[in-house]
Symmetry: C2
Subunit: 214 residues, 2 copies
């Protein structure tokens, strides 16, 4: 389950996109589905998630966290399947060079059709978690590059939370978080006053996962 920012087709503003893969076998042959694959005996859960992500889409996550273990009895019509789902955020530079093909394509997170298995529900839950985490923790920065303007951060929040935020108040809040560091660089090339660039100095999170894999 991968999230990335891409400019909207119409407005050009950043919106949330998700890469999906086409099912080439039954069940649900032809439908779009989340990328995934089996867990081997010699890899940890996050390693397996990263590997599957890499193999199917060529993407490398800047943030990876366990979402949930789905184990309902009828998730697949043919057999019992338990899926330990991870969700990842990737930076725009990464997302841009992701390999799209006949069977791998990006979709807007809010405009998905019917997917295979229970993947619609999984994505819904992942979106809920993403919004939740953004409201509290400092996670939005993993969707951006190393340097960013405060307006870009605000656009991320606006895209994910789907509502407009007051620029002045938002900037006040972000500047109050200690993990945001002011640089002395400015983003040039706009059609107006150049905004200052900032960077994020915090570390990902407090998952049990996020301890070095020995």
């Amino acid at each position: 389950m991968i999230f990335a920012l891409r400019p909207s087709e119409r407005s050009g503003r950043p919106t949330l996109w998700i890469p999906l893969v086409r099912r080439i076998r039954e069940p649900f042959k032809g439908l779009w589905a989340l990328p995934g694959g089996p867990l081997t005996h010699s890899e940890s859960l996050p390693d397996a998630a990263s590997r599957n992500l890499q193999e199917t889409t060529g993407l490398a996550p800047s943030y990876l966290e366990q979402l949930y273990a789905f184990g309902g009895l009828h998730r697949s019509p043919t057999q019992r399947v338990v899926s330990i789902v991870y969700w990842a955020l990737v930076q725009p530079t990464e997302a841009a060079l992701a390999a799209e093909s006949e069977n791998v394509r990006w979709f807007r997170a809010d405009r998905l059709g019917e997917l295979a298995f229970d993947h619609n529900a999984i994505i819904e839950y992942a979106l809920w978690r993403l919004r939740n985490k953004m409201a509290y923790g400092s996670i939005a920065y993993h969707l951006l590059g190393e340097y960013f303007t405060l307006a870009q951060v605000r656009e991320v929040y606006e895209a994910v939370l789907d509502r407009e935020l007051d620029p002045a108040n938002f900037r006040r809040q972000v500047k109050a978080t200690p993990e945001i560091e002011e640089t002395d660089q400015y983003l040039q090339g706009g059609k107006h006053r150049p905004p200052r660039l900032y960077r994020f100095t915090g570390r990902p999170g407090l998952d049990p996962d996020n301890r070095s894999t020995p």
Copy 2:
């Protein structure tokens, strides 16, 4: 992973307790461990968690939520094990009639020795999640019975967060949450002014799990 409130041995105030089972085989024979067991083909994840809980301790959870899937390579010295851990809250009435025995015993959550496998780390994470959930959501009530006083709620918070809270301010906050309903009953039998009884009217949570199992 089960949490329940029991009166502290010394102060008599409610504290967090956890039931553990003794390992009767290798590996870690003789050490205490979290209750658990295999997942069968015909039960969902929460059903399996409930069943294992019932079989090992005789407890029925008033709240059950998925904690995390642990899948490190070296969790067990003998084989690769992936554990999808659930955590439960049980009410004091339930907890009182739990079957203690030679191989099942309650421990204070903050005074555990060395446990089998990675169970110390799992419990640490569960405690972190419990504290987190309590700070935001309305979960403390599942550790109490149907009727409770505001002082009892405060004691739960104090036990879990491990710090004292101002009674007056705490009461103001709790009374502001819409899920708390005032009854016209009072708790009699204390040595002082009898406190009013309240009840919790909210529903558990927003887990993907918490949808009816068909």
